[in-house]
């Protein structure tokens, strides 16, 4: 096929065209790109291939199977909804970066070899970094730098793993790394690099740190792509990797514990990405057909309800001017539509029928039971309790009910409301007609969510949780504090060591600039410029002499 049948091409091309156009035309380009990409996905047949030769290597840019189609469809839908939510922005930077981010995700999804996968993987890092930076706040600037720091380390680990895999005679084919012999050292490196993007604790803080610092529209887009692309790569390359079952379960509970402590609504939701991706990672680790299809289905549904929740939270922040629960309250009277749509998202993420979380989460839970992993099943169920407790009850109570703060909300742009309606409609439709989703599942699992025992279990779990919230409302009362996480390590002790070191080196450099260069000038007066303070040639000469002397000394000694 030609390069213009690759779905990612539409998004990258759309990004460029949107940058060059303005006004109505830009809006049309922004919305048309993901729509055309979705059309391109629907036109792809399993035998479609696209290769590109570079010296010594043939890149496989396009490989189509059920797994890649499944993720490509939801990424296109997420990109469309995210773009719609951003449509009122005058600044092209954020929507353009968002399209590029979605394009990178599609590039990874359709990649046929590890190198192609890595190139698009890194493109996603750059694009998502700009989505953060286009919030244009000092906080987002700093959070973006920390984001870059973690992802450079993660990407480096992944690339080291890929090179080691090839160096050891491994296949360039982007496929399973797991085998009967367990993971090779290269496999471990790749797995670690992917786990950074999957936000597996303690490698998760880039997410919970940076996503709440994005603009309200930026965090909607961010919530969809990076972690779910990592889930896709885990499904592709590490099906049934045993550590993932336990890691995923830990993630699921870890996220909800922090969500219970969070005061900022978008940070609370960011911790729920960690928690929900935990369900997927656990499903991949269990490694049965059903559990892996459960993970894929949950990724699909998660993208929709998470976007909806971030849209609702963004609407609150946009309208009320704050995202802190301690400063919110009584919004149900003033933002009833936002509340209803947000609650659809909250019921979806908790897995309450008839919304889409119910039809996907219960697959993973049931598969843990069938795989005879009772602890995983029970802890994932505990995470479900914590999900409803912290979003459906705590966040909803303190934002929409609670103490009436007499907030006069700013009106919402219609495109934001439209995007919320779209996401809520999809959450409900998939919940009511699960067959639409199940027909697309990569491994073709058959599952029936609407049995009396499943529905009753879910209802009882939610009623029990609501009773718990009702009894413990005093304890769960929000407080104006942040909860430290492992990012403390690189935000406090690390700068405490690094910054004095940098200052010392600067002083050292400054000293030589003053004294050393002056010494060179005085011995070789011919290089003296008229303006003695500004001598780039002199500086280069000085460091050249230092370097050559060091080299001479080194070779002379040995």
């Amino acid at each position: 096929v030609s390069v213009f049948q690759h779905p990612a091409a539409f998004l990258f091309l759309g990004a460029v065209l949107a940058l060059l156009s303005r006004g109505k035309l830009r809006k049309i380009v922004l919305l048309a790109s993901p729509a055309l990409a979705l059309y391109a996905v629907s036109m792809l047949t399993p035998d479609a291939v696209l290769t590109h030769s570079i010296p010594g290597f043939t890149l496989e840019l396009l490989r189509v199977d059920r797994l890649s189609r499944f993720f490509a469809i939801i990424f296109c839908i997420a990109s469309f909804l995210g773009t719609l939510y951003q449509l009122h922005l005058d600044d092209a930077g954020e929507p353009v970066s968002s399209l590029a981010l979605a394009g990178g995700a599609l590039g990874v999804v359709f990649a046929g070899d590890w190198l192609t996968m890595f190139v698009f993987w890194e493109a996603m890092t750059v694009a998502s970094l700009f989505v953060i930076w286009f919030a244009r706040t000092p906080g987002s600037h700093r959070a973006g730098l920390r984001y870059l720091f973690i992802h450079v380390v993660g990407g480096g680990t992944l690339f080291a793993g890929i090179l080691l895999h090839w160096g050891g005679g491994g296949d360039t084919f982007f496929g399973p790394m797991t085998g009967p012999a367990g993971l090779s050292p290269a496999g471990w490196l790749i797995l670690t690099g992917v786990c950074v993007n999957a936000a597996v604790p303690p490698l998760h803080t880039w997410l919970t740190d940076a996503y709440p610092e994005c603009s309200v529209t930026g965090s909607v887009v961010q919530s969809a792509f990076t972690t779910k692309t990592a889930v896709f790569v885990l499904l592709r390359a590490f099906p049934g990797a045993e550590p993932l079952a336990v890691l995923g379960t830990v993630m699921a509970v870890y996220g909800v514990i922090y969500a219970v402590m969070s005061n900022d609504i978008r940070r609370l939701l960011a911790y729920h990405i960690v928690s929900q991706v935990g369900f997927m990672v656990a499903g991949i680790g269990l490694g049965t057909t059903m559990s892996m299809d459960g993970a894929a289905a949950h990724a699909f549904c998660h993208i929709l309800y998470k976007a909806l929740l971030f849209m609702g939270a963004g609407a609150i922040v946009h309208a009320a001017g704050t995202g802190k629960l301690t400063e919110l309250g009584g919004l149900w009277r003033k933002m009833p539509v936002t509340m209803i749509l947000f609650m659809i998202g909250a019921f979806s993420i908790s897995g309450l029928p008839p919304f889409n979380g119910f039809i996907s989460k219960s697959i993973t839970l049931a598969s843990a039971g069938e795989a005879h992993r009772p602890l995983i099943e029970l802890f994932l169920e505990l995470a479900s309790v914590g999900t409803f407790l912290s979003i459906g009850l705590k966040l909803a109570y303190f934002a929409f009910l609670g103490t009436d703060r007499d907030i006069t909300p700013k009106p919402l742009p219609p495109n934001m409301v439209g995007a919320m309606f779209g996401a809520a409609a999809l959450c409900t439709l998939l919940g009511v007609f699960p067959g639409v989703l199940y027909d697309l599942l990569p491994l073709g699992t058959e599952y029936h969510p609407y049995t009396s025992s499943h529905v009753l279990s879910s209802l009882q779990l939610h009623i029990g949780t609501a009773a718990g919230f009702w009894l413990l409302l005093k304890l769960l009362w929000v407080r104006p504090y942040i909860a430290l996480d492992v990012d403390w390590l690189y935000r406090k002790p690390f700068p405490a060591v690094l910054f004095p070191l940098v200052r010392g080196m600067r002083a050292f450099g400054g000293f030589f600039k003053e004294k050393g260069v002056a010494a060179v000038y005085s011995t070789v007066p011919g290089f003296m410029d008229v303006d003695a303070k500004r001598m780039p040639v002199g500086m280069a000469l000085f460091w050249g002499i230092v370097f050559l002397s060091a080299l001479a000394l080194y070779s002379w000694n040995f």
């Binding site: 000092p138 906080g139 700093r142 909800v256 514990i257 922090y258 219970v260 402590m261 005061n263 802190k324 039971g369 069938e370 005879h372 009772p374 099943e377 029970l378 169920e381 505990l382 309790v385 914590g386 407790l389 009396s452 025992s453 009753l456 279990s457 879910s458 209802l459 009882q460 779990l461 939610h462 009623i463 029990g464 949780t465 609501a466 009773a467 718990g468 919230f469 009702w470 009894l471 413990l472 304890l475 769960l476 407080r479 104006p480 504090y481 942040i482 909860a483 430290l484 996480d485 935000r491």
Partner: protein, 81 residues
């Protein structure tokens, strides 16, 4: 009648309704393929698990962890540097 009391009545009513339905439908899946563990067939297990789970999570997070790791909201400096 206060809103709190109404909520209490509503919750208990819903809980009782699901318990009754659980009892009525449980004969179908007792000992069936679904009951891999005892809690799959125990009537009202999820009700109890939700209540206790919420309590355990709240107490663990807010009483044990939060007092140790909570910091003021301007703990991390924002802005320049």
């Amino acid at each position: 009648v206060s809103a709190r009391y109404k909520l209490f009545l509503g919750l208990s009513g819903a809980a009782l309704a699901t318990l009754a339905l659980d009892y009525l439908t449980s004969h179908g899946h007792h000992g069936g393929g679904h009951a891999a563990y005892w809690w799959h067939s125990m009537i009202g297990f999820e009700l109890l698990y939700g209540l206790l789970g919420a309590a355990v999570l709240s107490v663990f997070a807010k009483l044990l962890v939060f007092p140790v790791i909570k910091r003021s909201e301007d703990y991390y400096p924002e802005g320049e540097e």
